[in-house]
């Protein structure tokens, strides 16, 4: 639907222009260099505001808390918040502004992969740092980006393994929204399932547009697909708003989690807050963090969040944990480098370890991804997750999936002497898949 896109872009630009004219913010940027500036690049308006506004709040909370502890290297931190308004080209513009005008030392931001791809050249050109806090499709490793969300092998593949072993699933529906993350994840999953002996007639792949709201035929199709005498599950990479009508239709058509379980990679506590979850009890989600994880660090974080937002009902979710880890890693990296100059912080980041919120430690690996435990949770009637499975230790992220043709020969290692994000082990040189 071309007109929608145009309309959104136009509106977003109008809002952004208004925001850029804000006098207060410009005045802030002029304050003395006695502070370290941190850019926050999350959409506060437009379609992605629903998810990204929360991350902006988390970042402000973490920065406040760090300042209360005395800041970093004896200097206070100062947040520079901009609103890219869910508009992908605007992300790049705002990133450039943060780095060149506001002179920030690091940027925390982006949610969708397309926004990350849009700012990537800016960060590489200007040599700044981006912390990216959302689970994504992998197939990327930039010198200037630290990925604190999950790669597919830290979320999708363990979830499929769980369904295979626990629920004896042999037939799979891969349902997703039609954009890069679901398409890449499903490609990896399809190759993985086939490597496990699943035949192609036992895999159904379905894509729907953003914000799809009429799920009647698709849910009926899933039901039909599930009645071939084999245990069936749905692996959902359905994004954001489309989930609510999807789950509503499932429950209206009488599909329970005990018949056809749905395991989702984009449905967390925040998304469930807008749904009556009673009919969804038992459907699954795979994340690296759940609010219901009962460890002291998580409890302290939740209390801090409730106090900061002055709302005892605000939920926490996985990208918030990723933002928390990313921020603490940056603080440690700066202390280790004894400088907040991005060029010095980037090499210092590798090997930095900070506590995550599930009771363990997460470490920044040489491929700029972090180690994470994988948790499988079942939706409960109260909108929280009941953790039914957890990996015994943490899992190291694979930036390049071994199940995809173009990427299985690639590795990423930003430590010298390799210092390369896409080293081809077959060709023995840096520079991606190349010609084979």
């Amino acid at each position: 639907m071309q007109p929608t896109v145009t309309r959104r872009n136009f509106g977003a630009m109008a809002v952004a222009a208004a925001a850029a004219m804000g006098i207060g913010r410009v005045a802030n940027a002029q304050t003395a260099a006695s502070t370290i500036k941190i850019g926050i690049l999350h959409s506060l308006s437009g379609t992605m505001a629903i998810s990204e506004t929360t991350l902006k709040d988390v970042m402000l909370m973490l920065i406040d808390a760090q300042n209360a502890k005395g800041g970093v290297l004896g200097k206070k931190l100062e947040a520079v918040v901009v609103d890219p308004a869910s508009n992908w080209p605007l992300f790049a513009e705002k990133a450039r502004q943060l780095i060149t005008v506001d002179k920030v030392s690091a940027v925390f931001g982006c949610w969708t992969s397309v926004s990350r791809k849009s700012v990537l050249p800016v960060f590489e050109e200007l040599g700044n740092i981006l912390f990216y806090p959302v689970q994504y499709e992998g197939e990327e490793s930039s010198k200037n980006v630290f990925y604190t969300g999950a790669a597919p092998n830290q979320q999708a593949i363990p979830a499929v393994d769980y369904l295979m072993s626990e629920n004896k699933i042999t037939r799979w529906v891969l349902a997703g929204t039609d954009y890069v993350y679901p398409r890449t994840t499903n490609k990896i999953l399809e190759a993985y399932l086939k490597s496990k002996g699943v035949k192609s007639e036992d895999i159904m792949i379905n894509y729907t547009p953003f914000g799809h709201s009429d799920w009647q035929t698709i849910v009926a199709d899933i039901k039909k697909f599930g009645s071939a005498g084999k245990k069936t599950a749905v692996v959902s990479t359905i994004n954001g708003d489309a989930n609510v009508p999807f789950y509503k239709e499932l429950s209206n058509q009488g599909i329970k989690a005990t018949d056809i379980p749905v395991v989702a990679f984009s449905v967390g506590e925040e998304e469930l807050a807008g749904i009556d979850t009673k009919p969804l009890v038992g459907h699954l989600a795979a994340w690296n963090y759940f609010e219901s994880v009962d460890v002291p660090t998580n409890k302290a974080f939740i209390d801090q969040w409730h106090a900061y937002t002055k709302n005892p009902k605000r939920v926490t979710n996985d990208p918030m944990e990723a933002a928390y880890i990313g921020f603490n890693m940056w603080v440690k990296g700066v202390e280790k480098a004894e400088s907040y100059d991005p060029a010095k912080v980037i090499p210092a980041m590798i090997g930095v370890s900070v506590p995550n919120l599930t009771g363990g430690l997460s470490t920044m690996m040489p491929n700029h991804h972090i180690t994470k435990p994988v948790l499988i949770g079942e939706i409960q009637a109260d909108g929280q997750f009941n953790v039914v499975s957890q990996t015994p230790g943490t899992i190291v992220a694979e930036a390049w999936s071994p199940y995809l043709e173009g990427s299985k020969d690639l590795i990423s290692d930003w430590l010298p002497p390799m210092s390369c994000g896409n080293y081809n082990v077959k060709l023995g040189k840096c520079g991606g898949a190349g010609k084979t």
Partner: protein
């Protein structure tokens, strides 16, 4: 131990009990112990206190198999999430008034007890076990549900209980379900006789639903005649399913059409009748949805008993809220822009962003939870067609709204004035009609209708600030396709677009389906620029 006169000499062999009687004694002791246990009627619940789901699952199975009279209560409590495990590893049941011990049913304190954690495997085991336990219940409704649950579970261990239940069942419908359940279990048993299997296939083929098909397509090690019979039964089910799929698709199409009609009906007034390109139309829908949310919140807080009627209260409220906002927009913005479509488009577009951000600031960016009353959840099976209640309610609502709108236009004085003004503004003004007032009312009516659509959409879509965006394009599509200024055209346009979309979706996929619909629409508009039912006469030139 001196030998006394007259005393019987002690038989050394009698001095200790012979081995055989020793065994007997132990046996008696064990039996006594068992009797004690069964006299106390305490089921073994130790496995329920485990943290391992597979242990709990086993506990469920052995509890059901034990035939313990408390099994039903305990399993029902587990199913409802009311089974608690205490810090002392004892199991309790939460009741409305307090807690009782699960093993004895006696009221007791349960300090620090937490609900038992279950996963899907445990849930399946509980459903099955409860089905088996309740097959012999005295309550027919429980028996019916139990028979369905056992059918569903296809548990081979249920056959014996099913035989017993079938023998004493008096209600024919429940008896049939039990026989179907028995057939499903028999088919799933590896090594059941061919005769049994063929009879089972006949029973399941009669039932003829997708689940029966699924059972028949997964018979373990079928002999050739069984496989042939199953194949035939599956083919016949598939054939029926094909027929039903068409009917089902038509229902889906009508349902989507009704949603499109609701979204577009208001636009048919503001754009179709008044000619105002109102890009903020979707936001009027969104306001209606948020009104529903506010009404429900108020009901939850002040009159929880009225929840089932919340939507009936929300409909007029939404009409008022969106209508008043509509009138305000017309008075403050649009009336200065009549005859300047491009400026109207840009101004209303900006307004839509303002409204979205305003709602985002007031209610927050995340989705709001609008509940569905009980009568709108679930579905009815009519033949092979599944009619979901919420969709059915929306179809009826759309028809009512359309009828009401037509009645207003045709039979009220406001309707008369509206038609007069749109047909010939100057003449109407000359006749003494206050055209600015009519403009405001017309715009308010169109916005109010959009608000009512918002109530319906809150039941099937997200209530978020972006709600309206998803419908604005579709609404314009429907109005243009149907013929600007013609309500019947709008209704038929919505229906055609809905049905075409739903029949294309399974073939082409949701993404391509939408593209195809758009391409077809463009082609159609190329040939008939004024839509299906263009207005004729001088009104068109105005």
């Amino acid at each position: 131990m001196g030998a006394r006169p007259g005393a019987q000499p002690l038989d050394p062999r009698r001095g200790r009990l012979p081995p055989s009687s020793l065994l007997k004694g132990v046996g008696v002791l064990v039996a006594l112990f068992m009797m004690c246990v069964s006299a106390r009627a305490e089921p073994d619940l130790s496995q329920f206190a485990s943290t391992s789901f597979s242990q709990i699952q086993q506990g469920v199975g052995s509890l059901a198999a034990s035939g313990d009279p408390r099994a039903g209560d305990i399993l029902a409590a587990l199913q409802a999430g009311r089974l608690l495990v205490g810090t002392d590893k004892q199991i309790y049941i939460k009741t409305d008034t307090g807690t009782v011990s699960a093993a004895t049913g006696q009221p007791t304190e349960a300090p620090g007890a937490r609900p038992l954690r279950v996963n899907n495997n445990v849930r399946v085991a509980v459903d099955t076990a409860l089905g088996i336990v309740r097959l012999l219940s005295t309550d027919p409704a429980q028996r019916a549900a139990a028979a369905e649950a056992v059918f569903h579970s296809r548990d081979t261990s249920a056959i014996a209980v099913l035989d017993k239940a079938i023998a004493q069942e008096t209600v024919p419908g429940i008896k049939r379900t039990m026989q179907e359940a028995r057939a499903a279990s028999l088919l799933g048993t590896d090594g059941s006789s061919d005769a049994d299997r063929l009879a089972s296939i006949a029973i399941l083929s009669n039932r003829g639903d997708m689940e029966s098909r699924s059972f028949m397509s997964s018979i373990p090690n079928p002999s050739p005649p069984v496989a042939a019979a199953a194949g035939k039964a599956i083919d016949s089910i598939d054939l029926w399913q094909k027929v039903w799929t068409v009917v089902q698709g038509a229902f889906y199409g009508v349902s989507l059409g009704s949603v499109l009609l609701l979204a577009a009906a208001g636009l048919a007034i503001t754009f179709g009748v008044m000619g105002v390109i109102n890009m903020a139309h979707g936001e009027m829908v969104m306001l209606g949805a948020y009104t529903t949310f506010v009404v429900q919140e108020a009901i939850r807080n002040y009159a929880p008993g009225l929840f089932g009627a919340s939507l009936f209260i929300a409909v007029p409220m939404a009409f008022l809220v969106s209508g008043v906002v509509g009138v305000a927009i017309e008075r403050c913005l649009i009336r200065f822009l009549y005859g300047r479509p491009l400026e109207t488009l840009l101004a209303t577009w900006g307004l839509s962003l303002v409204l979205q951000q305003a709602v985002r600031s007031i209610f927050g960016a995340d989705n709001r939870n609008v509940g569905s009353p009980a009568w709108m959840s679930g579905a009815e099976q009519v033949g092979g067609v599944l009619i979901t209640n919420n969709r059915l309610a929306i179809i009826i609502f759309a028809v009512l709204v359309l009828a009401a709108l037509m009645a207003v236009l045709r039979y009220t004085s406001l309707g008369l004035r509206m038609r007069a003004v749109t047909q010939n503004r100057r003449m109407a003004a000359a006749m003494g009609i206050r055209t600015p007032w009519v403009d405001a009312m017309t715009f308010g009516l169109g916005s109010g209708i959009a608000g009512m659509a918002g109530v319906a959409l809150s039941q099937i879509d997200n209530v978020s600030p972006n709600l309206g965006q998803g419908y604005i394009i579709d609404s314009f599509m429907v109005v243009v396709f149907g013929g600007v200024g013609n309500l019947w055209g709008t209704a038929l346009g919505a229906l055609v677009l809905g049905v075409v979309n739903k029949f294309l979706e399974p073939i082409a996929g949701a993404v391509l389906g939408k593209i195809v619909v758009l391409v077809l629409l463009i082609a159609f508009i190329q040939r008939r620029p004024r839509g299906m039912f263009p207005l004729k006469g001088r009104a068109v030139e105005a």
